[in-house]
């Protein structure tokens, strides 16, 4: 009973420390419980949603002109499949959608009819209009439920798809549960009415969609090798399919959809670990202080016959109470924020997350953390054993100093407060180990958070900087036969244009011995590009040199000076790697060539794209209008542009032009001449007016795919920095307060000698500075490495760590720590010299 009373006395006496330990334990439990509960919930939610949709687990997409009926038998003959069906689809990459604000956002879309959808999955409607209401709509549209959950659209809203400057408004008839094609990465499957599908099939690229369940297929399984399948298809058809086949599966979809949520939860778990370290440090620090502070009391209790173990328990009970309270609060808060987390998960995942709280998981987390806290406290409280009654009554040997006199005051040159602070620090370096560990881990978290915040502060700009493509460029793809250099010269005359140069469209080749095919990028002069930089080595300069992505170099253990062999159409060419860059495009598959180097492997390649850099303030739309003014409408824009007005001759010419546009833009046709005899009138025409094939840019799609992720991480990293900053503040103020308590006598003497409270508070704060500065230097170096590791592990990118941000954050942290410690030592003001003297 007396022992428990001592615990309660200590708790009451050191309310702030006890509250801090409860708080840290609560935060640890809360964040770890969020991780545990939501990680499994996220995976379960995806699986449940996928299952509920009744979706096939795999689909392969082919463009119409590259599909052959034999591909189906290759699949059935070689792999275990069921529910196999062949369907039509329309694909539209980077399709503009007009938001309410008028801004255009781009998505990758796959359009299908309801009939096709029912072959792919069960078409389970969510928030749907009635059948009568749907029938009354001119242009009904069904969207994956993702649009409702993460993009805030509602049934009855209008969604306007913009193509070639034309608006195609649809009314959202409802949403539906879908298995595949429900993410920003792979695109969204939209269900159109048959009439609208027919209309869109004239405007967009169409193809064949092969859907099936592949039995036993798993992400790493050898059961289905897409590349191998495509090679077999190529062999049977003699088509080049490498660029035109897309494989989607349950595993890919899941990995893609849960990637950012998992990344977020990993960060939460990391924060939890940091908080845990802080809590454990606080506990060891407090136990040491309490034992030192109450040494004589311990001696008295021992003299009265209490065993060391019993006295240890008195200290342990404190942590049973404060740690237990923290764990309990952690559980309660976790339950309270479950609805918020479910909404967050739904928004991130784009699927319904059912509200079953992972009670056993949360309780297990809380219990585990409680046990760790108690074990740690127990280990530390056992030090009571080291003090038999006589030693304890003499206050241990704490007052007996036989150490070398470090920093004797005789050599004082500057400020006495600084000298005394350093002297005190150097006399007791051992006590700094815990603070160092704490500040290093907390500093790492804050610095990483601030570096990440800086990375995301301008929206998607940070991610763009690592993509390995010129994201600001507008690509003007010219018709075969047109002179790209002449077009470039005319574009350069436009006042909207800052810079333009001729280049090649992205293409694909195989790399011998690699599962990751190469997305080709070729430039005449890399110095003209603005967002492609070698992170090591240099740009390729000769026709046998290439630059590869950091991800590829890591995954395939390729370094500067190594050779890779590229394959295309039976041709094999060897290249030397001269540079490595950060590249996110197509999972980091980019390989960068010189123009000549590219033509070594793509023998027939000719420059076909003008890369255009617009002046500030000029939008892509304005530029496209300008292009249309100067060069006439592009073939891509002219698709579906047949006018029904005018004379019969006009109608025929319009129809013919539209067909030519489709042939030029979709089927690789380079030149068309036509002649139509109507009665006695001959109507002729050709494809020569078409100069521009397509105008496109990366900006819209990057904005739609990365914008929400950037915003989430920006907010999260800032909150993390603030939370850990608060924890650092709590810890430092508690350390300062307990140091004041421990050094009460010395501080009183100093006051008696004429040192003011401010002097002594300054000494206390200055004492911490070397530890904090050294810890932050360690944390800064660790941040650079951790930042690289993190981004590579998550998306295979090599980020540029903003050293300025690290230095500025370090300066702010040093000042912050100084003032927190200074204020935390404020209890010095309450030390009464006279009370001390008359004790």
């Amino acid at each position: 009973m007396n022992i428990l009373r001592l615990s309660l006395f200590n708790l009451k006496k050191n309310k702030r420390e006890a509250a801090a330990i409860s708080f840290l334990t609560m935060v640890t439990v809360l964040m770890m419980a969020i991780f545990v509960a939501n990680y499994s919930k996220l995976n379960k939610a995806f699986d449940e949603s996928f299952k509920a949709s009744g979706s096939v687990n795999s689909i392969v997409l082919f463009k119409t002109d590259t599909y052959h009926s034999e591909f189906k038998s290759i699949l059935t003959d070689n792999y275990h499949t069921d529910r196999l069906s062949i369907n039509d689809y329309i694909f539209s990459g980077a399709t503009d959608v007009r938001a309410d604000s008028g801004d255009l956002v781009s998505y990758n879309f796959l359009f299908v009819t309801e009939k096709t959808e029912r072959r792919l999955e069960n078409f389970i409607k969510v928030d749907a209009m009635t059948d009568d209401e749907v029938r009354a709509l001119s242009h009904p549209l069904w969207l994956p439920v993702n649009f409702k959950l993460s993009k805030g659209l509602k049934t009855g809203d209008t969604m306007t798809i913009v193509k070639a400057g034309k608006d195609y408004p649809f009314t959202i008839a409802g949403f539906y549960e879908t298995g595949l094609e429900s993410s920003d990465g792979f695109g969204f499957k939209l269900i159109l009415s048959d009439e609208d599908y027919d209309l869109f099939s004239m405007i967009f690229s169409s193809g064949s969609l092969m859907s099936y369940n592949c039995i036993g297929l798993s992400f790493d399984s050898d059961d289905f090798d897409f590349d191998e399948y495509i090679r077999k298809c190529e062999e049977s058809s003699s088509y080049n399919l490498m660029n035109y086949g897309v494989f989607l599966s349950y595993e890919y979809e899941k990995a893609n959809e849960t990637m950012f949520s998992s990344m977020f939860l990993m960060l939460v778990a990391f924060l939890s670990a940091i908080t845990m370290i802080s809590a454990l440090f606080m506990i060891t620090h407090k136990v040491s202080n309490d034992i030192e502070d109450q040494m004589q009391q311990i001696g008295v209790l021992e003299a009265l016959g209490y065993k060391a173990r019993e006295i240890s328990l008195a200290y342990l009970y404190e942590y049973v109470i404060s740690g237990g309270l923290g764990c309990l609060l952690g559980i309660i808060v976790t339950f309270l924020i479950t609805p918020f987390m479910d909404s967050f998960n739904e928004a991130m995942l784009g699927r319904v997350v059912h509200g079953n709280t992972e009670v056993p998981g949360i309780i297990a987390v809380a219990l585990s953390i409680f046990v760790i806290v108690i074990l740690f406290a127990l280990l530390k409280t056992r030090t009571v054993k080291k003090y038999p009654p006589v030693t304890a009554l003499r206050r241990g040997i704490g007052t007996h100093n036989f150490k070398r006199n470090v920093l004797p005051l005789e050599g004082t040159k500057g400020n006495i407060n600084l000298r005394l602070a350093m002297k005190s620090l150097l006399s007791d370096l051992k006590s700094c180990i815990g603070v160092t560990v704490c500040i290093v881990t907390a500093g790492l978290t804050i610095l990483f958070s601030m570096v990440s915040f800086d990375f995301f502060k301008d929206g998607t700009k940070g991610l763009e900087s690592m993509m390995g493509i010129d994201t600001e460029v507008v690509m003007v793809n010219v018709m075969t036969g047109a002179d790209p250099e002449a077009i470039r010269d005319r574009i350069l005359e436009m006042p909207e244009v800052r810079k333009a140069f001729v280049s090649y469209t992205l293409n694909s080749v195989s790399i011998k011995g690699s599962d990751l095919s190469a997305t080709t990028q070729a430039y005449y002069d890399y110095n003209e590009t603005e967002n492609i930089f070698p992170t090591s080595g240099r740009f390729p300069e000769h026709d046998n040199e290439v630059m590869i992505s950091f991800r590829r170099s890591q995954l395939e253990h390729l370094n500067l000076g190594d050779n890779i062999v590229l394959e295309d159409g039976g041709l094999e060419k060897s290249y030397v790697i001269t540079g490595i860059t950060s590249s996110m495009l197509n999972s980091g598959s980019s390989v960068y060539f010189t123009s000549d180097g590219y033509r070594r492997i793509k023998l027939n390649a000719r420059p076909d794209t003008v890369h255009v850099y617009l002046n500030d303030g000029v939008s892509d739309e304005e530029f496209e209008e300008r292009i249309a003014e100067v060069f006439g409408v592009s073939a891509k824009e002219a698709e579906g542009d047949s006018s029904s007005e005018g004379s019969l001759e006009d109608k025929i010419r319009a129809a013919a032009d539209e067909k030519i546009a489709v042939m030029l833009s979709q089927y690789g046709v380079t030149s068309v001449d036509y002649a139509v005899m109507i009665g006695d009138k001959l109507i002729t025409g050709n494809s020569r007016p078409y100069v521009i094939k397509e105008v496109s840019s990366w900006r819209g799609i990057i904005k739609s795919q990365m914008g929400p992720v950037s915003q989430t991480f920006k907010t999260f990293t800032l909150l993390s920095a603030l939370l850990i900053g608060f924890i650092v503040a709590v810890i430092l103020s508690i350390i300062a307060a307990s140091a004041v308590r421990r050094q009460r006598m010395s501080l009183g003497i100093m006051k008696g000698l004429g040192y003011s409270s401010k002097d002594l508070m300054k000494q206390m704060a200055l004492r911490m500075m070397p530890v904090i500065i050294i810890s932050l230097v360690i944390a800064s170096v660790a941040t650079v490495f951790f930042n690289r590791f993190f981004w590579f592990a998550i998306v295979g990118l090599l980020p540029k760590t903003n050293i300025t941000v690290i230095i500025l954050t370090d300066i702010v942290l040093v000042l912050f720590c100084y003032f927190v410690t200074y204020l935390g030592a404020g209890k010095i003001r309450k030390i009464s010299v006279t009370e001390l003297m008359t004790e």
Binding site: N405, M745, V833, M837
Partner: protein, 253 residues
């Protein structure tokens, strides 16, 4: 006639305990003269130490005024009092209160460097003073736990004197020392006083009180007796003792 160095007007000091006010010093008017060795005596609980701390700026009076060389210090903030103390006062405590983690020399310099810039003269002065009090060079680098009580108190005195204080306060400086060590310490006080140092000392020990030139007797928070003596050594010690004893007995000691 020596000038006043410390003066109080209607000085009061009260403590609050469980809601009850305890008035320890009551409306006390006092004048301490420059160059005097003033001894404050009284029975236990009479307010000797409380008066010493109120006079020295260690503590603030509840009411009334304290003038140090005509400057009122009663309204000073705690930090202003600290600055006042460091510039004008030296303290010698019964429990010595050396800093455990600092050597003898560093203990002295800790008090000095808050007032003076470090210099060879200052360090030499500290060493010289320590030598004069009987400590040798080897002792300079010792820690307090390696010193005897008398040695520690001598360090305490040097620490109090290092800044040439205008007034030296001592609270029962021999209270924890044996008679031999106590005598050595008192000899130092006597010597310092002979050199012109103003001293205010609290004691309940007759031998210690004999070293003073003025004895104030405190009872119930007020001065009830004020006895003057010639400087120590200038009169017959036996007679000095008898007269002081008589005064104290008259006071009810």
């Amino acid at each position: 006639m020596a000038s006043s160095i410390l003066r109080t007007e209607k000085l009061c000091k009260s403590f609050s305990n469980m809601g009850t006010q305890q008035h320890v010093i009551k409306n006390l008017d006092l004048d301490i003269l420059e160059g005097d060795f003033t001894v404050i005596m009284g029975s236990s609980g009479s307010g000797k130490s409380t008066l010493l701390y109120a006079l020295s700026g260690m503590d603030k009076p509840t009411m009334g005024k304290v003038f140090f060389a005509d400057t009122g210090i009663q309204d000073y903030s705690n930090d202003e009092l600290a600055v006042f103390r460091r510039g004008n006062c030296g303290f010698v405590f019964q429990s010595v209160y050396l800093l455990d983690n600092q050597t003898v020399l560093d203990n002295v310099l800790t008090g000095a460097l808050i007032v003076q810039k470090n210099s060879t003269e200052l360090v030499n002065k500290a060493k010289d003073l320590l030598k004069k009090t009987g400590l040798n060079d080897e002792d300079l680098n010792k820690y307090p736990n390696q010193l005897s009580g008398g040695e520690a108190q001598r360090v305490g005195i040097v620490r109090a004197l290092i800044n040439d204080p205008k007034i030296l306060f001592a609270d029962e400086p021999t209270g924890q020392l044996n008679s031999s060590a106590g005598k050595d310490v008192l000899d130092i006080f006597t010597q310092v006083h002979k050199n012109g140092q103003s001293i205010v000392m609290v004691t309940h020990d007759l031998k210690t009180a004999l070293r003073g030139t003025r004895v104030l007797y405190l009872r119930d928070g007020g001065i009830v007796g004020d006895y003057r003596m010639p400087p120590y050594g200038e009169d017959d010690l036996k007679e000095r003792r008898n007269k002081l004893t008589a005064f104290l007995e008259e006071m009810g000691w």
